[in-house]
């Protein structure tokens, strides 16, 4: 956004007032200010900053860091059902990397993630539609799109289970009207993963939409007006203004979507059902973890799976942060 703030006269333009109103939470003047030099100097201020963040650090340490360390430890043990462990070295990891279920569930998780990520372009498009000036009932639409996100995943899953039903489901009924013979969605390997991912996409759309809509509010309207004066079409404006200036928000929702997709469990568990014969071929990484840890009671092995999931998500996120320099427009 550097280009806008340096455009001469733009801050004096009568349009600026509108821009300021359009982003009530932001501070339009900040952009031109030099960066405060004191940033990142937390260590130099002695212990005071640490004192203020200590409640948070304590909570995170007890509830997140300590369990991570414990899990790392237990992944090296043969861990009994009711506690009690014997050290097993890397045995769990050796067995895990030789277990076809790991690669199968990783593949399913990647497919799921890929499909759910398709929701982001859809969300960008919908968000820009919702942001059209003068759109009536914009607030209502936003609520409607957001509702699935706050609905209970199990309740959502039960409704979709009915929709996906092979014999009596709404989806196959609709497909039959156009002459397509739909599969048994939740009991055909492959189709089951796609079915769950469709629901995942649908229910995460609301969150992406809200984040992106907030990002859109940060694009100064005068840019669109300038573009219009230059004769740019709506679609050209979308491609050359909306999308580039929205990249920080897109980056954020991409990170969040990838992480939550890698952790998919509840939807899969509730839509497919625990006695579904295709479940072993459609399970996600976290379901694999759950099955080993809580169904077959092999908790040391499950701890090893958890560590692998932890590492995969860490690596994927780190790679995303590295790649963002290539495509995210920062201001």
């Amino acid at each position: 956004m550097t280009s806008t703030s340096h455009r001469p006269g733009s801050s004096a333009s009568p349009l600026t007032g509108r821009a300021a109103r359009a982003r009530p939470g932001g501070s339009p003047d900040r952009k031109g200010d030099p960066q405060p030099p004191a940033r990142g100097r937390i260590a130099g201020d002695g212990f005071w900053p640490w004192l203020f963040v200590s409640p948070l650090v304590a909570g995170i340490s007890v509830f997140y860091f300590w369990p991570v360390l414990q899990t790392a430890f237990y992944s090296l043990t043969d861990w009994g059902v009711f506690g009690g462990w014997t050290f097993a070295g890397v045995e769990n990891y050796v067995a895990l990397f030789a277990d076809p279920s790991l690669y199968l569930s990783l593949g399913n998780t990647l497919l799921y993630t890929a499909i759910v990520l398709l929701g982001i372009p859809i969300a960008v498009y919908l968000a820009s539609l919702l942001n059209l000036p003068g759109l009536r009932f914009a607030g209502l639409y936003r609520v409607l799109f957001f509702l699935p996100y706050v609905a209970m995943p199990t309740a959502v899953a039960m409704v979709w289970r009915v929709i996906f039903n092979g014999d009596f489901g709404l989806l196959n009924h609709a497909l039959a009207l156009v002459g397509i013979d739909g599969p048994y969605w939740i009991s055909t390997p492959g189709a089951a993963t796609v079915a769950v991912a469709i629901v995942g996409l649908w229910s995460s759309l609301g969150f992406s939409l809200i984040v992106l809509a907030a990002g859109l509010k940060n694009i100064p309207p005068e840019m669109y007006e300038a573009a219009e004066l230059d004769g740019a079409s709506r679609s050209r404006q979308f491609r050359s203004i909306t999308v580039p200036l929205l990249t920080p928000s897109i980056f954020f929702v991409t990170i969040v979507t990838v992480i939550s997709s890698f952790q998919v469990f509840d939807l899969l568990y509730a839509i497919l059902g625990s006695s579904n014969p295709v479940l072993p071929r459609s399970m996600s990484l976290v379901y694999f973890f759950y099955r080993e840890g809580f169904v077959t009671n092999d908790k040391g092995y499950a701890a090893a799976i958890a560590m692998v999931i932890f590492l995969i998500i860490g690596i994927v996120t780190a790679v995303q942060f590295r790649l963002q320099k290539r495509w995210v427009q920062s201001d």
């Binding site: 899990t71 506690g83 706050v150 009991s187 969150f207 006695s275 976290v286 169904v295 932890f310």
Partner: protein, 435 residues
């Protein structure tokens, strides 16, 4: 359940933290545990015993009957305060495991066949040997197969509070519509197969089926395996590699192949009980517990119960829940007193009169049959005579997962039954060896 279910509000914002939450799910179960089992010591307490105890159960439908039991118990022990904790079945075992690991099990709680081995052999439960020696519980009053189910390594941990057997729930209206006579008395496998196929073909236009297989061993293939003279688990080894067990599996493959049952895919989307309650299935293999799904529905007037068909022999699976006392209980005496009371004839009669379940105490079951007088529920009680206990081991869930994964391939005809069964036996033996 476990923190690995991210709640919608947390998803997103705490996503990274959620990764660590995975780890939390696991280590939440650490610490404590491994306590030595109880000694089974027991003395009936004085009437003025004062204690607060918790009673863990999973079935909300049974709470009114349980409350009646507790009221009666409090007439004897007015100062024992019993809190009933209901946890839905889906979360019950996960929660119980966590509680056991941190020595915070309820004082008294429900136990079932697939889990008794795990808890009994890991020293989590107080045996009832003291109460039996004192004559306060007489094992002869309960179905023998179920008493044996709660005996681990020759130690008795509980007696059944109720029992269930399997029968065939039949929709008389569909028989009539198909023009197929309703079978009477005992019948054979072949007669069942022919009846199912005949109804399916007569009513195929309406999408109605005669019978239905399924993925639940207790109501379907365990029964036919026993009827074929086979076993699911024999001592420490799998019974699936025997021709008898394979004949029991073949029964369902044949039923699906003949069109007598919906396909495995159809049954995954819509389970057998749903087919039946929607009036699309003439014969549903189901437990006595299914009665509560029938009572007060339009279907009730049309329903009757048939005995399971006879293969090489007559057999059904029997199972029942038991009340067990935690070895770590701080009010063991009060918990044991309640355990003994719940096993008594009076308490069992109260359970029976409430009609939610078939009580286990011999002679208290008549109220159950009267709850649907025209449906011939007597079949379920008679079946107790030739019943086999639900096959379980110390970690049943480990090989149950293999059954769910492999058997559908045999039922659907995708792979030969013998080949699938051999593979299943191999995996099951590996799981049993780890116990």
């Amino acid at each position: 359940m476990s923190p690995s279910f991210p709640s919608p509000a947390r998803r997103g914002i705490a996503a990274l933290a959620g990764v660590a939450g995975l780890a939390l799910a696991l280590s939440g179960c650490s610490g404590g545990g491994g306590a030595g089992g109880g000694s089974g010591e027991y003395t009936a307490p004085e009437d003025d015993l004062s204690a607060k105890i918790t009673y863990g159960v999973w079935d909300q439908n049974q709470v009114p009957a349980i409350q009646e039991n507790i009221d009666a118990f409090n007439e004897e022990y007015p100062d024992v305060d019993v809190t009933v904790n209901v946890t839905p079945y889906a979360e019950y075992w996960t929660k119980l495991q966590t509680q056991a690991s941190s020595d915070t099990l309820p004082d008294l709680f429900w136990m079932n066949g697939p889990n008794i081995g795990l808890y009994g052999s890991n020293g989590q439960l107080e045996p009832i040997t003291g109460a039996v020696d004192a004559g306060d519980i007489d094992l002869a009053n309960y179905p023998e197969a179920l008493v044996d189910l709660y005996n681990i390594d020759d130690v008795q941990y509980g007696v059944p509070k109720d029992f269930d057997t399997i029968g065939i729930w039949a929709n008389k209206a569909l028989f009539e519509q198909a023009g197929v006579p309703l079978p009477e008395g005992d019948w054979t496998w072949q007669e069942f197969q022919d009846t199912a196929a005949a109804i399916s073909s007569a009513l195929s236009a309406q999408g109605i089926y005669g019978g239905a297989g399924g993925m639940d061993g207790q109501t379907t293939y365990y029964n036919t395996i026993f009827q074929a003279g086979g076993s699911v688990i024999d001592g420490d080894t799998s019974g699936y590699d025997t021709p008898e067990a394979q004949a029991g599996i073949q029964f369902w493959t044949d039923l699906i192949a003949s069109g007598g049952s919906p396909s495995i895919q159809q049954l995954t989307d819509t389970t057998g009980d749903q087919w039946f309650t929607s009036g699309k299935l003439a014969m549903y293999w189901g437990g006595s517990w299914f009665r509560s799904a029938i009572t007060d529905t339009d279907l009730a007037a049309n329903v009757t119960v048939l005995p399971l068909p006879t293969g090489e022999e007559q057999a059904t699976v029997i199972h029942g829940v038991s009340n067990v006392v935690s070895a770590a209980s701080k009010n063991k005496q009060a918990a044991q007193a309640l355990q003994v009371f719940l096993a008594s004839e009076d308490a069992q009669q109260q359970q029976g009169d409430a009609g939610a379940v078939i009580p286990a105490f011999t002679g208290t079951q008549s109220a159950f049959t009267e709850s649907l007088p025209d449906a011939n529920l007597q079949v379920f009680l008679d079946a107790a005579d030739y019943a086999e206990p639900l096959p379980v081991s110390k970690n049943s869930a480990a090989w149950n997962a293999a059954e769910t994964e492999l058997l559908p391939q045999a039922f659907s005809g995708q792979r030969p039954v013998a080949e699938v069964a051999e593979e299943l036996a191999e995996q099951m033996n590996a799981a049993l060896a780890e116990e």
